[in-house]
Symmetry: C2
Subunit: 403 residues, 2 copies
């Protein structure tokens, strides 16, 4: 790895970005300092985005997809507390109006503002509060931390990171913030992630690199299997670092891709670990699959299995559940070839159970990071997925009344 | 419907069948009268079976698939407490030995005995206890109730039914027992169902009718999305009723198919309602899908969504979760055409939220059967799926130690 962690890094660590947040009282929050925020780049940005595959897409998602198609943008306005999803034509008009208000405040064109929302589905945004509050937001070069807080819902900690590296003699910085699973009061486990960089990057290549990074990070985590109407990952590149614009055929592009992968994996792991009500991170490594696609299927099914999740919560080395989850995943698998490890402890070899040290297994299950590694011994496919345990607290968080 | 419910009906209600059960002490049960049982037909039977799609299949599943390929059988031996899955060659030998012991006791050939197991994965069967106990089982024409108890694990009630109807002037009886989700101590949510009838039915057609019935019943329920290594549905037809053998081109075959569908749907609903830790049955009806396949996808995704399940547990009319689950199911869906009903109360029409009576909605959510109906208004596809709510008790049941 050729990049380094930026101390206290966030989305405004890259040069030329500022952010700010305020409290707009969008929902009857118990305790929350901010619920509305903006991100701004002094210079126009190339922009890339990856969005929910749910056929029901929130109004702000449709708005962003439109902006991304054009390829550039300069700002983002985001709220928590209301998803602006299943809100019909009023919802679409409200998302556009958020962009208009933010653009007026920032002195740019509304078509250069992207919008994101997370929260309860099927209710309209309180537009008066939002418009009034946008005017109050103060932008600052270290405002990223406030934005990270503004997008939190049932997240227990803000999720931020930045890394820096040299590229053609220029220092490039890449920052990101994310929010994870669930709303203060129960709703879709929406995932939002905003990434910024001061590198100059060609737009199609930016989109390609973002998709690749999302595939090995956010697409490999699961909290409860529900894909939100609002899931959004945005990457803005303003080129302030002064490097020659990065293109697909540039041999050094891998340096940026690696940094982007690592930033996304770090934020994705933070989201998995902070899943609603969770106490542990589950990591599933699948090796020797017939293909990477098979490996991804198996790894995701293992970390998504309620029976695996509850076993991890109970620190129960009930390894049959891990093998059974792989078996139903759709990945090719031959029982008599399967090896299974808990950390480095082998539990099953060539399809037969080993007599293992149960106390050691329980101790490994009690760690905060529980790692299963399954070797299918069929090919070269491999993948890693992350999830969290399933606890009574998840039920309590999600069984409460919204109404 | 042309068939009638048999009072106190069970798997031994059809003529010529007997059953019995005993306690073999297969596992450290807290309280359990029986954990080992046999079913026997005085006459040889045509037999059909549907099995788990998990690539990891328990030894008894492989044994049954072998027997079914031949097409006939006369008996079944079944245990709870140990799944005999992931047990290698010893497991295969033990399943065969169960058949041998049962055959010796019943005075038939081992190749005419099917085997089923449910319980912890990765441990070997206590064969001495099992062989000794098989000798003790007393068969009786009303032994079906004891078998229904012997296969229970975390099930809170036995699941049994029988129906009867006239066919070519003969009285036909069809009986069934099932067990549902989960083990006394946590394990795979194995589903077992055994069906018997005194009708005479051609074997290929028997298999075809069983597959159809399973598709609209057991394949439309979900408790936690985990497909077991041991899931098994068996149907034995002994022909004692004296009807002319039922063939595919028989116009009256629909009478038997309807009875079989209803028996399977009844048992499937019982399994869903009695899912681990559940307090309510969730029914999802999808209408107007582009195809039945799409409708099945959407209905199953709705009842399987943890966010829908927790909302039902909390009696929270959080309908956005239902629409969002349909949206991510893979079924074709156009947001602006979707109508959603809670029982008969319309919550969303043509993609826009309606202002509904919240108190009435909460009252409907508090019922023991919560029914969502979603009309996609795209075609004629329709399907119904059943599931249960997700509660703290599910976590407690599945987070305990097995070891």
């Amino acid at each position: 790895m050729t990049h380094q962690l930026v101390h206290n890094g966030t989305i405004t660590s890259p040069r030329g970005f500022s952010a700010g947040a305020t409290f707009a009282d969008i929902k009857a929050w118990k305790e929350k300092p901010y619920d509305l925020a903006m991100l701004f780049s002094d210079d126009p940005c190339m922009v890339a985005g990856v969005f929910t595959t749910n056929k029901i897409k929130a109004a702000p998602v449709l708005l962003c997809q439109n902006r991304i198609a054009r390829g550039n943008s300069q700002a983002l306005v985001v709220n928590s507390g209301c998803a602006n999803a299943c809100t019909g034509q009023s919802g679409a008009a409200n998302a556009e109006q958020m962009a208009v208000s933010a653009a007026r405040k920032l002195g740019i064109d509304a078509s250069d503002v992207m919008v994101a929302s997370t929260g309860v589905i099927g209710t309209q945004l309180p537009m008066e509060k939002i418009e009034r509050s946008i005017d109050r937001i103060e932008m600052s070069p270290d405002g990223g931390h406030n934005l990270a807080q503004a997008i939190m819902t049932t997240d227990t900690v803000p999720k931020e990171i930045a890394v820096e590296f040299e590229f053609e003699g220029k220092k490039i910085t890449l920052g990101g913030v994310a929010k994870g699973a669930g709303m203060i009061h129960p709703n879709m486990a929406t995932m939002l992630c905003f990434l910024t960089t001061d590198a100059a990057i060609e737009q199609n290549f930016l989109q390609e690199m973002l998709q690749r990074a999302v595939d090995v990070s956010f697409n490999m985590i699961t909290v409860d299997g529900d894909t939100s109407t609002n899931d959004t990952v945005l990457l803005m590149a303003n080129g302030v670092a002064g490097n020659g614009t990065l293109h697909k055929d540039d041999p050094d592009a891998v340096v940026f891709q690696n940094a982007l992968d690592d930033v996304c994996i770090d934020l994705a792991r933070c989201i998995a670990r902070d899943g609603e009500g969770s106490t542990k991170l589950i990591e599933a490594i699948v090796e020797g699959a017939l293909s990477d696609v098979d490996a991804r299927l198996a790894a995701r099914t293992i970390v998504g299995s309620p029976l695996v999740k509850t076993a991890v919560y109970g620190s129960d080395p009930n390894w049959g559940r891990v093998v059974a989850a792989a078996g139903r995943s759709g990945a090719e698998l031959v029982e008599s070839k399967v090896d299974l490890y808990l950390d480095e402890l082998c539990l099953m070899q060539a399809g037969s159970p080993l007599s293992f040290d149960v106390e050691m297994a329980q101790a490994l299950m009690k760690k905060e990071n529980v790692c299963f590694r399954i070797c299918l011994n069929l090919g070269d496919g491999r993948a890693t997925a992350w999830g969290c345990d399933l606890t009574e607290q998840y039920i309590a968080l999600n069984g409460d009344y919204t109404t």
